[in-house]
């Protein structure tokens, strides 16, 4: 099975044996049995995320779309906040007049739970289409209609022939998977089925081979959380070695997404994010892929560029570019290195992002003393060993946790880093403990390629220079955890099946 055949996207615990709960040494994760890891659970847990959020985060980037959240009214609560952040993305993309997405909730109540919500959903899709004529309509299926047995696909396929608008549906019920990264797959599934497989024009035909002398075109799979500055850097580097790019599917329109079937190569920027789509393009359109690295840090960027160039015999061009860029950026960061030397850093984000950013910090002379990932899968395994090797075998603790700040703050107090680098919401927890923090991504900033290397160094130095806000916070705000909790192992509530 795969993206094309799947009616409902399988959870990542099934598809790639993703693990949600593990605590231990970085050196140990590769030696763990995948099935055992996958079954780890927590005896105490805090509110995580569900797959609806990443699904929505990606689908909302589609231009002029209408979102219908099929469920109780609370499932649409993130609507406005996400609308605002997408608007900010559009501003940064030089598109200040981008229209806001349209937002609807079918607002299921007690009577709907008894009688079903299919009819309301069908009427809503038709009414929204009639009144607003959006470019696409996205339907999100939530827990309540799923449990009461509403047939989402049935409604969609009944309505699809009646309207001219692209119809995207996503089964993103929170209770269906523990691994919210499944939401990325659900969003790819929705885009591919809505704009390619079940599009009114049918799937585009396979492209003929590249003609001699024609510049290669590669798909660069972007992330909804990636800022425009990073896309500009990737495009600059690939263009410089003679490669044209199509960036998508986030922030892309139907035509661009369909054009992705006509590329010569698909390049992932984050393998754990992209594999479901990349394999679809490979299986259905025969497009080869590069699905190994994330171009953050010098070494990772070098490997990423050389892998791509190798597909087109452009290795020499790539090497020349890499040498020139590395020389330039190394000189650029020289002034920051003294302040960063020996700084102990703790990272927290999606696994792959955290690992490659760790590599970048090591290249700046810093040491990794801890790492927290939202989930673990095979894409990351070898990168843990690389980090340990790069700091002469010095191991560090890792926590695989979908948020679970109780584990994070416990671990931080034990590890006591000099700098914390985290994803959304993580930084505030570290700041409450007084640690200087930098965000592992922010859509205004550069992180990838050579520009990213320079900017991250600069940002780390700036935040180390004055973290008075964090220090005052730690002296003045109470903690939510009992003292006894800090006396325990941060991983005390992780249960493995064997235990």
């Amino acid at each position: 099975m795969g993206l094309k055949e799947d009616k409902i996207v399988p959870g990542r615990e099934e598809r790639v044996a993703a693990c949600m709960a593990f605590g231990g040494c970085a050196s140990g994760i590769g030696k763990q049995d995948k099935i055992c890891l996958k079954n780890n659970e927590r005896g105490f847990s805090q509110a995580g995320l569900c797959q609806l959020l990443p699904t929505l985060g990606m689908l909302l980037t589609l231009p002029e779309t209408a979102v219908i959240v099929h469920g109780a009214i609370g499932c649409g609560s993130t609507g406005f906040g996400m609308n605002t952040s997408i608007r900010l993305h559009h501003l940064l993309r030089g598109n200040p007049n981008a229209k806001d997405s349209l937002w609807f909730s079918t607002n299921l109540d007690e009577s709907d739970v008894v009688h079903g919500g299919e009819q309301r959903l069908e009427e809503t899709i038709l009414a929204v289409n009639e009144k607003y004529k959006p470019k696409s309509i996205i339907v999100m299926h939530t827990c309540t209609p799923s449990i009461i047995g509403d047939d989402l696909v049935g409604v969609i396929e009944k309505v699809r022939p009646l309207i001219d608008t692209s119809l995207l549906y996503s089964h993103c019920e929170g209770f269906k998977t523990k691994v919210w990264a499944t939401g990325y797959d659900v969003a790819f599934h929705a885009m591919v089925h809505g704009f390619i497989e079940k599009d009114k024009d049918g799937p585009p035909p396979k492209k003929e081979g590249r003609k001699p002398g024609e510049r290669p075109i590669v798909n660069v799979i972007n992330l909804a959380s990636m800022g425009k500055p990073d896309e500009v850097e990737l495009e600059r580097l690939l263009n410089a070695i003679g490669i044209d790019v199509v960036i998508g599917p986030n922030f892309a329109d139907r035509e661009t997404i369909r054009r992705m079937t006509q590329a010569d190569l698909t390049v992932s920027v984050c393998p754990t994010h992209d594999d479901y789509l990349v394999h679809y393009l490979n299986t259905e359109y025969g497009i080869p892929c590069v699905l190994k690295d994330m171009p953050i840090g010098l070494e990772n960027t070098r490997r990423w560029l050389l892998d791509i160039a190798g597909n087109f015999g452009l290795e020499n061009e790539a090497l020349a570019l890499i040498e020139a860029e590395e020389a330039k950026v190394k000189k650029g960061v020289e002034k920051y290195l003294p302040a960063l030397k020996g700084i102990k850093v703790f990272l927290s984000a999606g696994e792959f992002r955290a690992l490659v950013t760790g590599g970048l910090f090591q290249e700046l002379g810093m040491e990794i003393v801890g790492l927290r990932s939202y989930h673990h899968d095979d894409f990351g395994t070898e990168f843990y060993d690389r980090l340990i090797e790069a700091q002469k075998g010095k191991d560090f603790p890792i926590d695989i946790a979908n948020f679970q700040p109780f584990e994070l703050v416990n671990l931080l107090k034990k590890v006591d880093p000099d700098l914390f680098c985290g994803h959304v919401f993580d930084n505030a927890w570290a700041a409450r403990l007084g640690y200087p923090t930098i965000t592992i991504f922010r859509i205004f900033d550069h992180y990838v390629g050579y520009r990213g290397f320079y900017e991250v160094a600069k940002k780390a130095v700036r935040n180390l220079r004055n973290h008075a806000f964090n220090a005052k916070l730690s002296q003045n705000v109470p903690e939510a955890y009992r003292k006894e909790w800090y006396e325990k192992s941060p991983f005390a509530y992780i249960k493995s099946e064997a235990a």
Binding site: G43, F44, S45, Q46, A47, G48, L49, C50, Q51, L52, L53, G71, A72, I73, G74, C75, G76, S77, T78, G79, F80, G81, T84, D100, L102, W103, F104, S105, N107, L108, D109, E110, S111, D112, V113, R120, A127, C143, T144, I147, G174, F175, K176, K178, W180, F403, Q404, P405, F406, F425, A428, V477, P478, A480, Y481, R482, K483, E484, W485, Y493
Partner: protein, 437 residues
């Protein structure tokens, strides 16, 4: 039957979670799917004035993160384990179990699980707040029914102690400052406010609820169930004052009403009002030159907010600022039985000004109604950040006063009382003045 909602302006019953978060050292435990807590927090807090996670909000909230296993086989075991371990890890004085859709549909016996912990001495209550049961105004009242019935004990009445029941924490992005302002007003006439939410005594203030001389319900309708239940259970009487007091006129009436009800000597109340009004009009007078000597007056005003603010702001803008109403939108679903009460309040304005009011209005109602109207001057549009789009199209002056607010950071700001009305006046005219600079 419920209707489709365009552009949501409140959340589901489980949103009561944020009312618990607003009480220091009260800890919510949610028995729900893995995304419910994050979504509701994001909608009510982060996406609404950037109110933050607080002591135990956001991803810190203990949660069963229910999966297929709990939906198919029941989630009581998982809930029991989560509660037991929450008591070991999280440092709180009251634990509140709230359920989401998954648990309420499959029918977990949450009461049974919670009672077993209570029997062992844990300070714990529960409410079944599955999202499909109603909105967060409804969920908020379910929460208080639960706390009253399962936690409160009768105690000696303290003369002068007043429980304050008003805006919904987090749903109203200005709740924290608003409660503090109401507290100061009550203190100014010699009463002792019990504010419950926000910085203060936390759970100790909940325990004091039965000690109050009376309950003050400062709300068009939300909270009536709560104060009536308290009256039944502890014989505590209540004063229902339906309008959020903004500005000198309404705040004066409010203080007089409370003073009379509480038995505060009229001279105390009048002295306070006189002192506050002198101060208030000292500042208001300064604004007169801007208001009357320049051309920067807004045309008619439109309010798109819940009944607390739709009513409170309308009163102030008509009775004190002297503006003219165009149309008002009440965004929450006011239950049938309370509608006449709210409608009556909207009919009582100085200068006999009335404007149409739409109840349970969503984005579609707002857009449809506003597009029908002709605005000859630039209107003042007090609404949510959703409404900035239509405000732009109408060349209006937008100010975000209601959920969701994404264009301002809100810490302790409030529009209530004398000082609050000065802030509001500053905000309105700053929007107007900055619109061309």
């Amino acid at each position: 039957m419920a209707e489709v909602v365009e552009q949501i302006r409140n959340v589901c019953a489980l949103g009561a979670l944020q009312s618990v978060v607003a009480i220091p050292r009260a800890i919510p435990i949610i028995h729900a799917g893995p995304g419910c807590g994050q979504k509701l927090w994001s909608g009510l807090s982060n996406g609404n004035g950037f109110q933050g996670a607080s002591y135990v909000g956001g991803h810190t909230v203990p949660c069963t993160n229910a999966t297929e296993k709990e939906v198919v086989f029941g989630g009581e075991g998982k809930l029991r384990e989560t509660i037991a371990n929450t008591l070991k890890v999280m440092d709180g004085d009251l634990y509140v179990v709230l359920t989401g859709c998954t648990s309420d549909i499959v029918g977990d016996d949450v009461g049974e699980v919670v009672r077993s912990f209570k029997a062992n001495g844990a300070p714990i209550v529960f409410a079944e707040t599955g999202g499909f049961k109603g909105d967060n105004y409804f969920g908020h009242e379910l929460l208080w029914q639960a706390i009253i019935d399962q936690f409160l004990e009768p105690t000696q009445v303290e003369q002068g102690l007043v429980n304050v029941w008003t805006v919904l924490p987090y749903q109203d992005p200005y709740w924290a400052g608003t409660l503090q302002a109401i507290g100061s007003l009550l203190r100014s006439i010699g009463l002792t406010p019990n504010l419950i939410y926000g910085p203060g005594e936390g759970v100790a203030s909940i325990r004091r609820i039965p000690a109050a001389q009376f309950n003050l319900l400062l709300s068009p309708w939300v909270g009536l169930k709560t104060v009536k239940r308290l009256e039944e259970k502890f014989s505590t009487p209540f004063l229902h004052y339906p309008v959020l007091p903004i500005g000198a006129t309404e705040t004066g009436s409010f203080l007089r009403a409370v003073g009379a009800y509480a038995g505060v000597p009229a001279t105390t109340v009048e002295t306070t009002i006189q002192r506050e009004e002198e101060r208030y009009y000292y500042y208001i007078e300064r604004s007169a030159d801007l208001l009357f000597e320049t051309r920067f007056l807004p045309g008619h005003f439109v309010i798109i907010a819940d009944s607390f603010y739709a009513l409170g702001l309308t009163r102030f803008l008509i009775n004190d600022l002297g503006l003219i109403p165009e149309v008002q939108f009440v965004t929450e679903k006011v239950p049938e039985e309370y509608l006449p009460l709210v409608e009556a309040e909207f009919a009582r304005f100085d200068a006999a000004l009335v404007s149409p009011v739409h109840y349970g209005a969503d984005g579609r109602t707002v857009r449809t109604e506003l597009e029908k109207r002709t605005f000859r001057e630039r209107p003042l549009i007090l609404g949510s950040s959703w409404d900035r789009v239509i405000a732009r199209e109408l060349k209006g002056y937008p100010l975000s006063v209601a959920m969701p607010v994404s264009d301002r950071l809100i810490l302790s700001r409030t529009f209530v009382g004398y000082e609050g009305a000065l802030r509001l006046t500053e905000d309105i005219y700053s929007v107007i003045l900055s619109s061309f600079q």
